[in-house]
């Protein structure tokens, strides 16, 4: 039996269009989400694997129940994806909640490692060593 035949595609010349224009499905919140992160107040893109950690052990009395729940969860660092899972909140809703909390300095964000044109070989080697131990 001969398998069906695929045809390879080339990299898109421009960055891929946003999903709303692409007709892939209307997303409620198609813009990229930015959160304030870092001591200089620079904006960073919120990623599924941005790590969030509470700045103080106990939620301040001013914290909303939603904020208090999040603070309890990230007493130790936790990814946005995990927070979204435990809080049963869509990823897009996490952006709003976390922007408030980063601005109020209730939590700290640790930026993810993303793929770059020039990959960091030492990072890949560390991952390989880690997987070897699995």
């Amino acid at each position: 039996m001969t398998p069906p035949q695929r045809q390879r595609r080339s990299p898109a010349p421009e960055p891929p269009p946003q999903p709303a224009q692409e007709g892939e499905g209307k997303v409620r919140n198609p813009e990229r989400m930015y959160v304030v992160a870092g001591p200089d107040g620079e904006r960073a893109e919120l990623d599924l694997v941005t790590l969030i950690v509470a700045r103080a052990a106990d939620p301040p009395p001013s914290a909303s129940p939603e904020q208090a729940a999040l603070l309890r969860l990230c007493a130790a660092p936790l990814s946005v994806a995990e927070l979204s899972a435990y809080l049963h909140l869509p990823f897009s809703a996490m952006g709003v909640l976390l922007t408030e909390m980063l601005t109020a300095e209730l939590v700290q964000a640790r930026a993810p490692i993303v793929r770059k044109a020039r990959s960091d070989r030492s990072l890949l080697e560390a991952v390989m060593n880690g997987l070897q131990r699995l």
């Binding site: 001969t2 398998p3 069906p4 035949q5 695929r6 045809q7 390879r8 595609r9 080339s10 990299p11 898109a12 891929p16 999903p19 692409e22 892939e24 499905g25 209307k26 997303v27 409620r28 990229r32 989400m33 893109e45 990623d47 599924l48 694997v49 941005t50 790590l51 129940p65 939603e66 208090a68 729940a69 309890r72 130790a76 936790l78 990814s79 994806a81 995990e82 979204s84 899972a85 435990y86 809080l87 049963h88 869509p90 990823f91 897009s92 640790r110 993810p112 490692i113 993303v114 793929r115 020039r118 990959s119 070989r121 890949l124 560390a126 991952v127 390989m128 880690g130 070897q132 699995l134």
Partner: protein, 206 residues
């Protein structure tokens, strides 16, 4: 949800907490058609019980080929499962098993753009369902490896025959795996990392 009962929201078990030294995380995506073993692969290598993140999509976005009631007016919830592997005290790796329907992938902002790479799971009984997946990764410049999940009743092809059928360049790794076995899933991830490493080496020379 009612956050007034937030004391009762279950969080990670004590043994599932990351150390305070965890500085940054990276992600890998596992893609493939319906029922090809994405969730199984995430579960077999994850150190935590896989979790689910959800995203909602409005009616307008539901295509004509959907399985959902076409009269339904409610937003559709799409779930994506994921797992985690602690690499060092500072570094964490997350694995995302994308939903079977590809048009849902874009609900999660930057899922592919930031990913280190992807694993394309292929079922030889339905080889063509993975064609579009691979094309999209190629268009976006996301490096990937191909893992053939060996189902008992699936047709067996020679690896080189599959490479030709999938129109893969000679450098792209293609291998058989059993997503149910941790060692096998781990080997697939190792192969992806070695591939990414070789790409980085090439980059260093040009």
């Amino acid at each position: 949800m009612d956050f007034n009962g937030s004391d009762t929201i279950p969080g990670p078990r004590a043994e599932d907490q990351l150390p305070h030294t965890a500085q940054a995380a990276a992600k890998i995506v596992i893609v493939g058609g319906f029922g090809v073993g994405k969730t199984t692969m995430v579960g077999s290598v994850s150190e935590i019980t896989p979790l689910t993140t959800e995203e909602t999509m409005t009616q307008a976005g539901i295509g004509v080929d959907d399985n959902f009631g076409s009269a339904s007016k409610t937003a559709t919830t799409v779930a994506m499962d994921f797992g985690r592997i602690s690499i060092t005290e500072q570094l964490v790796l997350y694995l995302f098993g994308t939903p079977g329907q590809q048009r849902f992938w874009f609900l999660w902002n930057g899922l592919f753009e930031g990913a280190l790479g992807a694993v394309v799971l292929v079922d030889t009984r339905r080889l063509e369902v993975s064609f579009d997946v691979m094309g999209r990764l190629e268009e976006r410049g996301v490096p990937f490896v191909v893992a053939i999940n060996t189902f008992p009743d699936a047709p067996r092809y020679d690896i080189e025959e599959l490479r030709t059928a999938l129109d893969l360049t000679p450098d792209i790794p293609i291998m058989e795996c059993d997503a149910r076995r941790r060692a096998s899933s781990r080997d697939v991830l190792m192969t992806l990392m070695r591939f990414l490493h070789s790409l980085a080496m090439q980059g260093a020379h040009t």
